[in-house]
Symmetry: C2
Subunit: 306 residues, 2 copies
């Protein structure tokens, strides 16, 4: 069995060594143009030329939660695309989102600014009932985030394509219930996959439906958001602020207004990082399962796009 | 039945109205020197003169989690001191501590400083196994904090005076196990009651026992900490940082080095605020229970001091 590794922007050696250690019977190689085709591929943003050379590929393992970039390419006909379905990412996402929600709710940015001026300030406690959080996308990451927010007793809503049921989370589903979901939310957390249907879903019309003083946390993809609509809603006072981890172009270009907007917190796509050891263990386990002819989790439905 | 209210630094009217609504059969009054003695008192930092005028008091309800200031006074002989045992404070404490731990672990201060300089930075993910969190004090607040930290999969230790057992938390007890507890912790969260035994417990000797790169979060009382020892350990690089919500003198005096220390985050005693509605409901419920001759939770043991 041959496994090929083709991940741009990733140091290959530790991945190759880890995959070799986890699957000692496999031949694990860094892809080079013209190399013999492989049975399995571990990829991140591979070039089309790589895919065109893999006629016998059984599965492509994407080392990230979002497969949107991969789904834009022509894939080998027999190959299934497999997402990492957790591999230590969901706990990071829960951390990132809870930190952002708590920081906003508890006004820690405001206290910090006061302390910088040597000011011991008093702020009236806010009621968490006034800060319902809506989570868009209830996959592995969204469900984990929703459950973590409940630990802090926020009212939590969820919205997903197909109906879901989660304890203590008010679930909405499909386009018909999207407006009701938005109207019930004050803090909006985006964890949707990026597909043609969800591109630009965070825009003036949708973000305007949030409760007054709305707050956006985008941890999915930059292309979900219409940048200029967010800025207009922040500047008009309709939205209170935003925490953004993902952008249409990454790194966020110099001079982009998000860098310096006083109501926007920017982080450099760090909300849920791919953890090498956990990912290698998961991919090796799935390859072994496929080799035994058994089903695995995380296979992408090309029609849905995730 | 008469209830008297004597809370410094607190707007009395909403408390009086709330207590009257919750206990319509009671006479609820704001204390004035020379007033007729009451059966129950709701207090925060009352003067000794107030206590000296209350010979028939059955219970003193302290509107905060810490009763250290009250325990320094001469109390009426028949009066029990009752702490608020949650009243919405434990969820706030869990929020505050999780926010501080996540912020430190995920290096969000560092990212923020980079973004301010227009820098899209990369930092190697840290392993949460390297950030065991030790919680000092496993009462209502400490237990809630420990459980919330487990949601984010940190290794969590607890230390308390008497032995406790908590799922997924490694528990230490008593002076004999204190050094082992400290040596197993990298992030130290202080939630102890302030008593003669715990005053100054956060000092050069104890804080030096933490794992390298130790981090202190003090959300109990300022007098638990020897201020100059913390500064020396931060300046020598032995400790990585601290988040402090409580201080020996509050408001923190102008010119105190904590205000501007680059490794210290200061907040103005805001980690867990007394929430009026929840507190009134709890106090009213306990008075009704006592009037029926039944036992209540939260009675302070004068020998222990909490």
């Amino acid at each position: 069995m041959k496994i090929t590794f083709c991940c741009t922007d990733t140091k290959a050696e530790p991945w190759l060594a880890g995959l070799r250690a986890a699957l000692p019977e496999a031949l694990v190689e860094l892809w080079q143009p013209g190399a013999a085709p492989a049975d399995y591929a571990v990829v991140w943003a591979p070039p089309q030329a790589f895919l065109d050379e893999q006629p016998q590929l059984k599965a492509l393992f994407n080392i990230g939660a979002g497969v949107d970039a991969l789904m834009l390419l022509r894939l080998p006909p027999g190959a299934q695309v497999v997402r990492l379905d957790d591999a230590g990412m969901s706990v990071q996402m829960a951390e990132y989102v809870c930190h952002a929600v708590i920081r906003h709710f508890r006004e820690f940015d405001g206290y910090e600014a006061d302390v910088k001026q040597g000011k011991w300030s008093y702020r009236k406690p806010r009621a968490r009932a006034d800060f319902p959080v809506g989570v868009m996308g209830l996959g592995v990451l969204g469900e984990r985030v929703a459950r973590a927010l409940r630990v802090f007793e926020f009212p939590v809503m969820g919205w997903s394509r197909s109906p879901k049921a989660l304890d203590d989370v008010r679930c909405f589903a499909g386009p018909a219930q999207f407006d009701d979901f938005l109207a019930a939310s004050r803090v909006l957390v985006n964890l949707l996959p990026l597909t043609p249907e969800t591109e630009g879903i965070l825009n003036r019309a949708t973000l305007s439906r949030l409760k007054p003083g709305g707050y956006l946390i985008n941890v999915a993809r930059g292309a979900h958001l219409v940048d200029e609509d967010l800025i207009a809603l922040l500047d008009s006072g309709q939205l209170a602020g935003a925490t953004l981890d993902v952008f249409r172009t990454e790194p966020l270009p110099a001079g982009h207004p998000f860098w310096t907007h006083p109501k926007i917190t920017v982080t450099p796509h760090t909300s849920a990082r791919t953890l090498r050891e956990e990912s290698i263990a998961q991919i090796a386990g799935k390859i072994a399962t496929l080799e035994r002819g058994e089903p695995i989790a995380g296979i992408v439905d090309p029609a849905r796009g995730y």
